[in-house]
Subunit: 377 residues, 2 copies
């Protein structure tokens, strides 16, 4: 495909764009649900759950309405109480879901290189009130899962992975999904695997799974007597149709993302003042995002100035995660540990996410990187 440079220059490059089927790929399935009238939490959702469990090599997968509800349901199923240790460098939903479950998120610092939770800081944050650790695989880069499993066992804590970003990521040759007591995934449009909206709880524990399945539909037993106070978190059949289609293409899409990621890095690695997230060496990362850290002293302008310049050039960006949770208004009075989280503050204040999605073209990456290179001085 050849595009004139004029067209290319004028075209806005979004920060993300979902992988979606063509109408022809899913028309028959949509007709099936419209004709049958079974349009929510039915056979396509069951099929999607089966395929997810197979793909991740985990015993149980429960599809729900969102990653946030997945986390609420998993926290409830694991009967968490009191304090839960989470990174501050994560999306707000990680902590929000816990608060809705009556839990107190305790924010700890990140590793400066991997952006993931710092296990030494986790150790320091454990108190008699701690019931669980909820680590996050930031941008799909897995945490030191083995060390977290060891630590949680030693301290008799539950371990619930917020794998919202990490569908398709492996650690030590094993796909995330079956680690800890449970894991949750998000399927929103910015994710490597999307179902428009949706979430998944995965676990190898039958009781946990059954509790999630009960609670995703009000806690309602077959005789309509609610055993628990659940929520309304069914996944619709249309969402499952999208998800099934996208899962079939996922391996191919992840390969493409790896290629784009390597190309991006090769274009920028010699630029002074730009550094990257360090991917865990035990990992095969499905790569949700491409982020750079700007060192103003070496690069010449700061992160915010770079973002403004990219906007001028019709290039999308995101400051992600900025602000970090411990500095959000919603958490400002609850858990303000600003000075205790220097790495989180550093990453959050200097990070910029660049356009990254499967359908991104290498010549778009060249255009983006050329703009960045010209700004360095």
């Amino acid at each position: 495909m050849v595009e004139s440079s004029k067209t290319e220059k004028d075209k806005f490059i979004p920060i993300a764009r979902p992988d979606l089927p063509d109408m022809g790929d899913i028309k028959e399935d949509i007709e099936t649900i419209l004709k049958s009238g079974m349009i929510t939490n039915y056979e396509f959702v069951r099929r999607f759950e089966k395929k997810i469990a197979e793909f991740l090599n985990v015993k149980y997968a429960a599809c729900v309405s969102s990653g946030t509800s997945a986390l609420m349901l998993a926290a409830k199923a694991l009967d968490l109480k009191g304090e839960v240790i989470v990174p501050s460098f994560t999306f707000s939903a990680t902590a929000h879901a816990l608060v809705w479950c009556g839990l107190k998120p305790i924010f700890v610092d990140a590793e400066r290189d991997t952006f993931n939770i710092d296990i030494e800081k986790v150790k320091e944050a454990i108190t008699p009130r701690t019931s669980a650790i909820v680590p996050v695989h930031v941008f799909g880069n897995p945490c030191k899962i083995d060390e977290l499993e060891k630590l949680s066992k030693e301290n008799n804590l539950k371990l619930l992975f917020d794998s919202a970003h990490a569908f398709g990521t492996s650690f030590n040759g094993k796909k995330v999904g079956g680690f800890g007591d449970a894991e949750i995934f998000s399927l929103t449009p910015t994710k490597v695997l999307t179902a428009a909206e949706g979430g998944v709880v995965t676990t190898n524990n039958r009781e946990t799974y059954e509790q999630v399945v009960l609670d995703r539909e009000y806690g309602k037993q077959p005789n309509y007597d609610c055993k628990t106070i659940g929520i309304s978190a069914r996944m619709g059949e249309f969402n499952a149709i999208l998800g099934i289609h996208n899962l079939a293409k996922l391996d191919e899409n992840i390969k493409r993302r790896k290629k784009l990621y390597d190309f991006y890095k090769s274009e920028l690695e010699d630029v002074k003042g730009i550094s990257f997230q360090k991917i865990n060496s035990s990992a095969h990362c499905s790569i949700k995002d491409f982020a750079i850290i700007i060192d103003k002293n070496l690069f010449g302008i700061d992160r915010d100035e770079l973002a403004e310049a990219l906007t001028e050039e019709k290039i999308g960006w995101r400051k992600y995660f900025y602000p970090p949770l411990h500095r959000e208004t919603a958490y400002g009075n609850m858990n303000n540990r600003g000075d205790a989280l220097p790495n989180t503050n550093f990453i959050s204040d200097n990070i910029l996410n660049l356009p990254f999605f499967t359908a991104l073209k290498t010549n778009d990456i060249v255009r983006i990187c050329n703009v960045i290179k010209k700004l360095q001085h």
Copy 2:
């Protein structure tokens, strides 16, 4: 359409079936969202919200992921605290949503004839800890809205209508949606208006609306700083496409439901031991359900025996709402006022919902009613 009686007799009649478009009606819209990549909470959702507000003649409508999340978001936006008065004769989500918001539902009795909340009992349940009344328009039959508005004003209580069942219902010539401080609707497949999954918060109060809009997406402000601890409750674009289509047909569908309802009643009104919900005389009811109350002494068999007999004849049914909330396991220890709710106990123990949906045929109703008439002795 002529069907052989054999085919007809062998065919299972479900309790409900959603009104859905044909593929041809929505194909173009689905192609639009697949091509644009904008598949959640975007232009179709905005259009659906606008059309809902116009249809209900209310200033603001916010589409969300479910009726339950609508109620959680509305209760949070209205800043409810402490105790909230609700009927026990309702679906579990009415109380569940309040509990997730840290509120204590106080269950009060129903009127024996309308199945709706008994206003005298509401008065008795008001304490200094009461912050709101959440009445329910059971099966679409509106409560005594004027009296509830008067009572809530006199006692400085918020009034939040659970109108999950009542889209299209009017009271004193005015559509429900703009009464009280806010109202919520559910759009699940059993509702008069469905979007597969979904909910709506409607209100004439700008602040309430803006709070719901903020909280349905994590409480996240445009600069990504969360002002509040919101939830993840976006409506997908596919759901809005379904909803827009169905809303355009709603008046026609409600007319059809009224005709079916009258026909059902005319078939059963002379059967000894069967009585019906009394529709509010100030109402135009959009009729979500058709329910009968079985008096065993006059009918000859009880509700449970009738249900079993209908199953034998391949006729769907639902005991709805059974058990009532104050007798559910989830609420058994929290709020057990069993003896204080005699009407609720009576209705719940003797009610049976019969198949009722827009596409139901009159000859199906004849078949159902003939089975019932033969059982009476």
